[in-house]
Assembly symmetry: C2
Homo-oligomer: 145 residues x 2
Amino acid sequence: MTLANLSPEETAVAAANLAFYRALEARELSAMDLVWSRSEAASCVHPGWHRLDGWQEIRRSWENIFGSSRPWTVSCEDLRIIVRGEIAWVSCVEVIRPFGSTRADAAARMQATNVFMREEGGEWRMLHHHASASPEDESEEESIN
Amino acid sequence: MTLANLSPEETAVAAANLAFYRALEARELSAMDLVWSRSEAASCVHPGWHRLDGWQEIRRSWENIFGSSRPWTVSCEDLRIIVRGEIAWVSCVEVIRPFGSTRADAAARMQATNVFMREEGGEWRMLHHHASASPEDESEEESIN
């Protein structure tokens, strides 16, 4: 998927997804406030964690992550966007590096599934985030394929 | 969420989700054939793996998993079902035990996000599966919440 080929709807979802990763990189809770849905259907699975349900619980987790983590840069690779009516989901690889690091092996790679809903006013808000550790390269994966 | 409180749509999605876990437990590729969408949007993230895109690639991975794995029992806990129009997603914890094992510590727990689409004929088919290792209990989790 290249960004040049996106439909207007896919572009809007890509922008919502980018806003999430900008909020993550900036470690700004106020930016996360704008990204997430207030729906009781909202849920979040951080890497290696159980699911958190509802915005209050999710917000508290970001507050604690941002309070305890060091500056990092975040980029997003292998993006795939599917839009069906008022729901969209994005699959991508999150690449998280300690700020200022140039070492390739310092980057953590996470496989992410992000679900968005188009809410009143037409804005796409995040309803579900599931991130999990991804292999650095395919040789690290178990042989299942 | 209790199964007694499900709407007819949620019940249909719960049944599609159950069919997936029965196919996984039975290690039957022909059952997986019935569960998954043939849409090019189909994608799958096995625990610790990169994303597989499209039914051919996904089917091959199940074939290899079923060919190399030993019998197991699979159950599904902490189920959450959200339906919005033609799209639904399920969040749950997969509990996978070696067949015949009674040891509690032999169970592997996976956090799963499953996306389903209602296709022509009204059948819910799996479009996306993302599973990742989940902690046995909360004391194993990093302190982020």
